[in-house]
Amino acid sequence: MISKLIPKICISIILIFLYLPIIVVIIFAFNKTKSRTVFNGPTLNWFFELFKDHSIMTSLLNSFILAILASIIATIIGTIAALQIVKMKKSSQSVIMSLNYIPIINSDIVMGISLMLLMTFVLNMVGGHLGFLTVLIAHITLCMPYVILTIIPKIKQTDPNLLEAALDLGCTPSKAFFKIILPQITPGIISAFIMAFSISFDDFAVSYFTTGSSFQTLPVLIYSMARKRITPKINALFAIMFVLILLMLIIMNYLDIKSEKHQRKNH
């Protein structure tokens, strides 16, 4: 009896450790006063304040646009490249894959400053400032390796016989690609896109080093706010983002279960 309880107790303690700080922050997002220790009664004031805060809203929009663009570009370039990589010789494949691992293994700070060095160097020659374009390039670089790693296994899972059958039956290669290959790897492309989006949206270090004063992403703004002083507006922001991520995970889980059922039907 006791030996059955120990695992559950252990798991609960760690989950409490993981969630206690999060719950405290969310609770104090609804606090009437600025106090972070005494709860003076509920209010939604900080949420309204948050939406009225021009710099937070601008940087939120910035982060969103940046993440959308970076993940779309990274997914397109990555998918096209992945389709070619699987056709290559084993030796060139392993060279490309080890290159692909550099940004993943490197810490984000090293990647941030290495791109900053390159960009300031180039900008010194051609003129211009760090800003939207440099962060966009940096984020595409950040996301692309993950896109490659997500999509290649999906391509390898596709059945080559189907493609051959389509070609035998008179399909042109491009038509066969859109009719046979693309539908099979679409789930992989979608999960690569979601992953790229969340990496880009979440990134702080790389944007911190590659952006200028003209373009501020949300994490960069949060960092400067948190260093100066603590405001319940950040708590409110935390609460909103937490709920959004929770919803996203639930939706992804649901899609996962659905595709599993779908696969079982097909087999």
Partner: protein
Amino acid sequence: MNKISIKFLPYGLWMIFFTVIPSLMIIWFAFTNESFEFTLENICKISNHVEIIFRSILFALISTIICLIIGYPFAYFMTKLSKSNQKLCLMLIMLPMWTNLLLRTYAWMTLLENNGLINNILKAISLAPIRMINTPYAVILGMTYDFLPFMIIPIYTTISKIDNSLIEAGNDLGANDFQTFRHIIFPLSVPGIVSGISMVFVPATSTFIISQLLGGGSNVLIGDLIESQFMGSTYNPWFGSAMSFILMIIIVIIMAITNKFDKTETESLQK
């Protein structure tokens, strides 16, 4: 073949321009001065900051060990849950991982402050308040909290993939739970431990967010030093690059050790 190279070109060029060249630039800057002449000055200057490098490695090591001690039992017990509970548990582990690192660290800031929640609770039960923020302990706590999921997930994945028939065979041959764990589950989970260690250690050695938000100015790590060379008042990208070069070397060494460990373990199991 020609068609392949044209389609591969955007990615290939992108990787060369924005991954290979920037990495080489760090090395180039590390070994040059303001007029781009070769010098070892930057590398020599590192010897003044040995204690920072030592502190970074020590803090990262301690938090990696704590993560392993907490994370391993958690991952192991997780595999004993029912399938649906496992899914739920995995989601609960991923959820903090997906919330922004800054916000997670901020959460601890509000708890650990001198007049924060923990100290107020201590006061309420008439205990003396403890200074927690801006101490090494706060930084290590932050690292442990932020990177714990990175330890749990790979260990959980490897344990849950262990072939059940191996465990059954052990039980049939009279092994008790501890023996099964000691001789079957633990050795087979080593690859998960190894990747967990590198996934916690690497971001912990290079962080500057956690040390700046929870450590105040007094617990400078490699990351802080690099950051201050590029963004702070002491603008010196040459020395900053030299420090980044050292950080890259540390990371490569960690990767090499974990890789080697991983290989010898799997080889010894195959024999």
